[in-house]
């Protein structure tokens, strides 16, 4: 019986595939793990996978390999990640990730990632925010690109590998991976009992809408940065896939936690990131002491510079975590009006200096050329000679689709458990930035590439177990189920093409984004958040009156954008309302009126469920303290309690060197045995 369920073919003889949506680091790793487990995959992506947003990651990937002999270890990595995240992350998944990290970096090296090396030919590591250790492996300053390419190459290889059945006989004409690039995910196909049996997607060239069966589905579709308009994110990061399944009943967790990166360069279309690795390699942040200083940065003498991060946080200096650095920059520029003076505009701009000019040029070229090239190309100034001018920009979503995990007795994860990375929609999984699991209230730099790959390494085996234990394959469900799901989406699309209101969807998006950017980022005030929510109500109404800008039946980006906008509005509400509700300050979520972290009331996961508007009203959110879901027929009860069994919450004090982990100062106390537990469910 079990062997039959795990068989390659369904009852009616079709090759059973699972579906992965998204071809960034998380999606591609999931695909590789599935292929190794003998599970054929259909991989869907809005863009050629080699152009996924992971390509933008610059600085590196964390792994406590301890090459520099500093006493670093996965335990310290775990502690610092949890501390950096202000204790909002469930700790077993973080432990699993920190323990696996060295192996992951070695694997990537085996795959051919051109990591920078030490003179002995070992992997080189550099410093990053929130730690005192050299823990970040890197390939110049385009590490994300290099990691993405390595995984892309492995998946491309699986496009040439034949499917074999359980006896090892080749199934003619079937390859392990079939890629569907330039396909937009629309929704999951739910059967009568609410179990995901496949997806509906649209070919964005021919505009054909089709339903695809899949024995399980995993989203690796990235974050929702475009909700804020201009950010460091790629234009494809609308969060549309996550928004869509949220509307279908998936729980969205901790949506209010949005990371603002302290150092980006302004632009008309996007805000381009200047990696934290610039500071990891010794870059210093400063403003002139005299707010009316008119000399170019390079000519301002040392003693007339205010190195405000180093002054306030002597322990971690320029490498305090991003939430803190962004707040300090905001304070300096926005409140104190001490941003760099601009002689042309005759005012203090919202900019500070990020200075590398004191560092040896040859080392900069070898380690940071990728970002310095971006600065040079987009600003037109030589960053080897002039301090760069930067300001914070929306960067990453700690929140995302809620996913489960199964805790092992050693405090880590039970690998292969079908609960790992499962959403509350049975058969639907999520990995990467689109889920919420690893970073709590604030992500440490260079942990995102790690969490994407680790997420895929956990999700892949979880999907395989789920698929192998199914009573009935999606391929044995009646075609009518899929036809109905496709028709529903086809009807919606046809309705979009008929929209002829006065609102331009791109301008409406700009309105939404400006509101979110102004009031829902570094500093949050309840009166403003009330207005943001009211504005979202208004925008949701106006979105019903947009006019489609293009009625073409081919490569219609205008109609596609209207759909994405709808999902962005829904996620904007999750972010803004979640922020309104959380009356405390924790990690990236900061309310001046509630300056302290409040563990008694808010050390809990925000669990949001969508409620469609009734009778022409706008949609609303149901916030749950607990809920039930089931996997393979087993009911599971979930609460919003955070699993803090490994590292006990304490106040963050980055003023003090080594505060993020006891081990970092050599002052290791005998850790109390992990508290009995505080289970996630």
């Amino acid at each position: 019986m079990a062997a039959k369920q795990a068989s390659t073919r369904s009852e009616n003889g079709k090759v059973r595939r699972v579906i992965v949506v998204g071809g960034g680091l998380a999606g591609l790793t999931t695909v590789i793990k599935l292929c190794e487990a003998g599970v054929p995959v259909d991989l869907f992506s809005l863009v050629p996978v080699k152009r996924s947003h992971s390509v933008c990651a610059q600085g590196g990937i964390n792994a406590s390999v301890n090459t520099k002999g500093e006493g670093d270890s996965p335990q310290v990595h775990l502690e610092e990640t949890v501390y950096g995240g202000d204790f909002l992350a469930n700790q077993p998944p973080v432990k699993g990730m920190a323990d696996a990290a060295p192996g992951i970096v070695f694997l990537l090296d085996r795959m051919g990632v051109p990591f920078n090396r030490t003179p002995e030919g070992l992997l080189d590591f550099r410093r990053f925010g929130g730690t005192l250790f050299h823990r970040t492996a890197f390939a110049g300053a385009t590490t994300g690109q290099q990691l993405l390419y390595a995984l892309d190459e492995q998946v491309r290889r699986y496009e040439t590998v034949d499917v074999e059945d359980e006896r090892g006989i080749v199934v003619p004409g079937e390859r392990m991976v079939r890629k569907f690039e330039f396909w937009d995910f629309l929704s999951v196909v739910l059967d009568d009992s609410g179990i995901s049996r496949g997806i509906v997607a649209q070919d964005v060239k021919t505009m054909e809408i089709r339903a695809f069966p899949g024995d399980a589905v995993c989203l690796g579709t990235g974050g929702p940065g475009m909700v804020f308009g201009r950010s460091t994110n790629s234009v494809i990061n609308t969060g549309t896939a996550a928004g869509s399944v949220y509307r279908q009943g998936a729980c969205y967790a901790n949506g209010e936690f949005i990371q603002v990166h302290p150092t980006a360069i302004p632009g008309a279309d996007k805000l381009r990131l200047i990696s934290e690795s610039a500071r990891g390699e010794g870059g210093r942040v400063w403003v002139p002491r005299d707010p009316k200083e008119k000399r170019p940065g390079r000519d301002v003498p040392e003693k007339e510079r205010d190195y405000f991060l180093e002054a306030k946080y002597p322990g971690y200096g320029n490498l305090v975590p991003r939430d803190i650095a962004s707040r300090e920059l905001f304070l300096k520029c926005f409140h104190e009006k001490k941003g760099v003076y601009n002689t042309k505009s005759t005012k203090n701009e919202n900019e500070v200096y990020l200075d590398l000019t004191h560092l040896p040029k040859e080392a900069l070229r070898k380690k940071l050329a990728g970002i310095l090239e971006i600065y040079e190309k987009f600003v037109g100034e030589d960053p080897y000679e002039n301090p760069m001018r930067v300001f914070p920009a929306v960067h990453y979503s700690m929140g995302g689709l809620w996913v489960d995990f199964e805790r092992a007795s050693n405090g880590s994860l039970v690998m292969g458990s079908p609960r790992n990375h499962a959403t509350n929609i049975p058969g639907l999984y999520a990995a990467g930035e689109c889920e919420y699991q690893y970073h709590g209230a604030n992500r440490l730099g260079a942990n995102s590439l790690l969490s994407c790959i680790w997420g895929g390494m956990v999700a892949g085996p979880a999907l395989a177990t789920y698929r192998n234990n199914l009573d009935k394959s999606s391929y044995d469900f009646p075609q009518a189920l899929f036809d109905k799901a496709a028709k529903r989406e086809q009807d919606r699309y046809t309705d979009i093409l008929k929209m002829d209101g006065d609102e331009n969807p791109y301008r409406l998006h700009q309105d939404l984004a400006e509101e979110m950017l102004l009031h829902c980022t570094i500093e949050r005030h309840n009166d403003q958040l009330d207005r943001v929510v009211a504005k979202i109500d208004e925008i949701e109404q106006r979105a019903r009156k947009v006019g489609v800008t293009d009625k073409a039946g081919f490569a219609n980006q205008g109609a596609q954008f209207i759909r994405h906008l709808g999902n962005m509005i829904v996620l904007a509400r999750v972010i803004a309302q979640g922020a309104r509700n959380r009356d405390e300050s924790r990690g990236a979520h900061y309310k001046p009126a509630f300056k302290d972290r409040n563990d008694a009331d808010f050390l809990r996961t925000t669990l949001a469920f969508h409620k469609e508007g009734q009778g022409g009203g706008t949609s609303t959110i149901h916030y749950a303290r607990d809920f039930d879901y089931s996997i393979a027929g087993v009911p599971i009860h979930i609460t919003d309690a955070v699993d803090i069994g490994l590292v006990k919450p304490r106040a963050r004090k980055y003023e003090q060197a080594g505060a993020a982990s006891a081990a970092a100062t050599g002052d290791i106390k005998k850790e109390d045995k992990p508290a009995a537990k505080s289970p996630a469910e």
Partner: protein
Amino acid sequence: MADKKTVRLKIQRQDSVDKPESRRWEEFNVIWLPQMNVISALMEIQKNPVTADGKKTTPVVWESVCLEEVCGACTMVINGRVRQACTALIDQIAPNGETITLAPMTKFPLVRDLQVDRARMFNDLKRVKAWISLDGSHELGAAPRQSQENQEDTYPLSRCMTCGCCLEACPQINDSSSFIGPSAISQVRLFNLHPSGKMHAAERLETLMADGGVGDCGKAQNCVEVCPKEIPLVDSIAQMSRQATKHMLFGWLLG
């Protein structure tokens, strides 16, 4: 308001590859913005899709992702030169308000307007086996050590974004040739430099020795001129040519 600075664009449009009769030029005026690039000009057209002579039209279709020249998506022909639209800053390419012309690449099948289909480039990566033949993603310890020098050789090659500039500029890429083009050849060099990648060097070289391989290069050297990542493509072609010759002459001896 009246004398607000504007940017003038002249854009080649076509509804789809099978509608050549729909090919046309349309001109647009958009308001100038600080730090503006070609992408943000196209975004302004989306918000108000009206031509310079007041005719309502559809927003222009183009491909873009990262907007910082690492993904390769937004490649197009700007003022006659192939490049990424994101790094095409308005103040640099039209400092005195000159008209900016945008056209799709010509060496790939057209999708619509400025978007083309570059699937052949990804297929070529399959043909040359541009990957490491990994035993599996389970833990097998550290990879072979590599010198800093080797990393400095491979990293620039590994920055190829599969953007298509080198193919667009290459005179040998045309309807009557099957030349694989510079980028895939350079990828062979990359993988043949890797300590375990070089164990399969011969297989990759054999693809380059077949029709459409490295021998079809006409040495125009346009590729290296247009590569946005300054990848030493001519050098890669020369080296692969030598390796292929060596393999052809002595390969059977070396096993």
